[in-house]
Symmetry: C2
């Protein structure tokens, strides 16, 4: 498995922030709970490598790593603490950063575009958000929404998906649940940073994506307080002057 | 261990080239033959991870990986072929890319600034270049050159070194061996890309660094033929019109 978040973060972060990457290797990896649990076994090794390499903050990219385990939220919190203990550095797991971002903004209800997640991952994600105290008004993947014609398209490993699909799916869940405090657009293999501002303008509502929550958490832990414009409301909150 | 080459390459490569990274982890890593041989044991795993992640070309950063083994050049060539077999993708080892770059330019003699390498690595590097058919007129590290006062400074793990040291050491070996066809400036932990053009102007002689040879090889294997200016003569050769 490989992830594009480092490229997205280098685009978003102010000058002076350098991003390094290491990846677990699971033969025949696919985005499902079983393969993710195999990759999780290598997370300590990855955290040690990055810590020894002099990183100030460590991020684990891939939202479902936080809810692939049957114990969901409680397990993820333990895992993040364990990685911090091993690395002796602050660690952010992408899935947990979504919880933290929603809480920090005071949002209580969400409509979720779960993009390429399988039905099983959708069920786990719903439980994860529910356990964290949020009302999940809608949670739909591209198959549920009719945006992809064939379930098998989700089962093939892909490194990225078109932003037009992500945009349409966020709009559809927003229209389905107009009372939601916030739209969640999930999936690290969707390059969402470029469409958040457009979605927030069109929906007149905050949009948080896996990447934006992840970057907000990492940059907060790094102590970055520069003004970051154009990436949505959440990242504009890093600057204390708003 | 960690490496900065991915950041340097993203600066140098034309738009459209995306760079991903994975790293081996050796507890207590230092730049010496023993630790490097331990890291080498993880190279196949790294190559598999990058290949499975959809990379088109794979690069192994870190020059001494190509000459840390007692069998030097012959071993490195076997290792590169082995990684290509495992990954089923073109693979460039940084040390071998220097040999290829020198040969491609037709240079026969070199003066080498070996920066932070230990005496043992300096001896191995000299043999490596010699085995490849080059005359090594000078090869000096920062201790030999009096640029660092204390050998112990080379023994502490460092992620980067100041470019002023790299610039001075390249000038010093050039002055010591004015008949050299080319100046080699080595060491991936030195961010050399920004000083190559200045050095070539000041020395009136081609300068090849570990990073420039590595990027030349990777971009060649990717089929990049765009005009890249400002990074020295070697990278300007990617463009067939010169």
């Amino acid at each position: 498995m490989i992830d594009n978040s480092h490229l997205e973060l280098m685009n978003v972060a102010p000058e002076g922030v350098a991003v390094y990457q290491t990846v677990p290797y699971v033969p025949g990896f696919r985005v499902d709970a079983g393969h993710i649990l195999q990759a999780i076994e290598q997370l300590e090794h990855c955290a040690l490598a990055l810590s020894a390499g002099g990183m100030d903050v460590i991020g684990q990219a891939g939202t479902p790593f936080s809810f692939a385990h049957d114990d969901g939220l409680a397990w993820a919190r333990k895992m993040q603490a364990r990685l911090e203990e091993v690395a002796q550095k602050p660690v952010t797991m992408m899935g947990l950063s979504i919880i933290d971002a929603l809480k920090s903004c005071g949002y209580e209800s969400v409509a979720v575009a779960s993009t390429y997640y399988s039905d099983d991952l959708c069920a786990r994600y719903t439980r994860f958000l529910d356990d964290a105290g949020f009302r999940v008004l809608t949670l739909k993947n591209w198959i549920h929404q009719g945006l992809l014609p064939d379930r098998r398209l989700l089962e093939q490993p892909r490194y990225w998906y078109p932003n037009s699909l992500a945009y349409q799916s966020a709009r559809a869940v927003a229209e389905e649940s107009p009372e939601a405090d916030c739209i969640l657009l999930t999936g690290g293999a969707v390059h969402t940073m470029d469409i958040i501002a457009a979605l927030e303008a069109d929906l007149q509502k905050p949009v948080i994506t896996s990447d934006s929550a992840f970057f907000w958490s990492l940059l907060t832990k790094l102590g970055v307080k520069e003004r970051l414009d154009g990436w949505g409301e959440l990242l504009s909150r890093l600057c204390p002057q708003g």
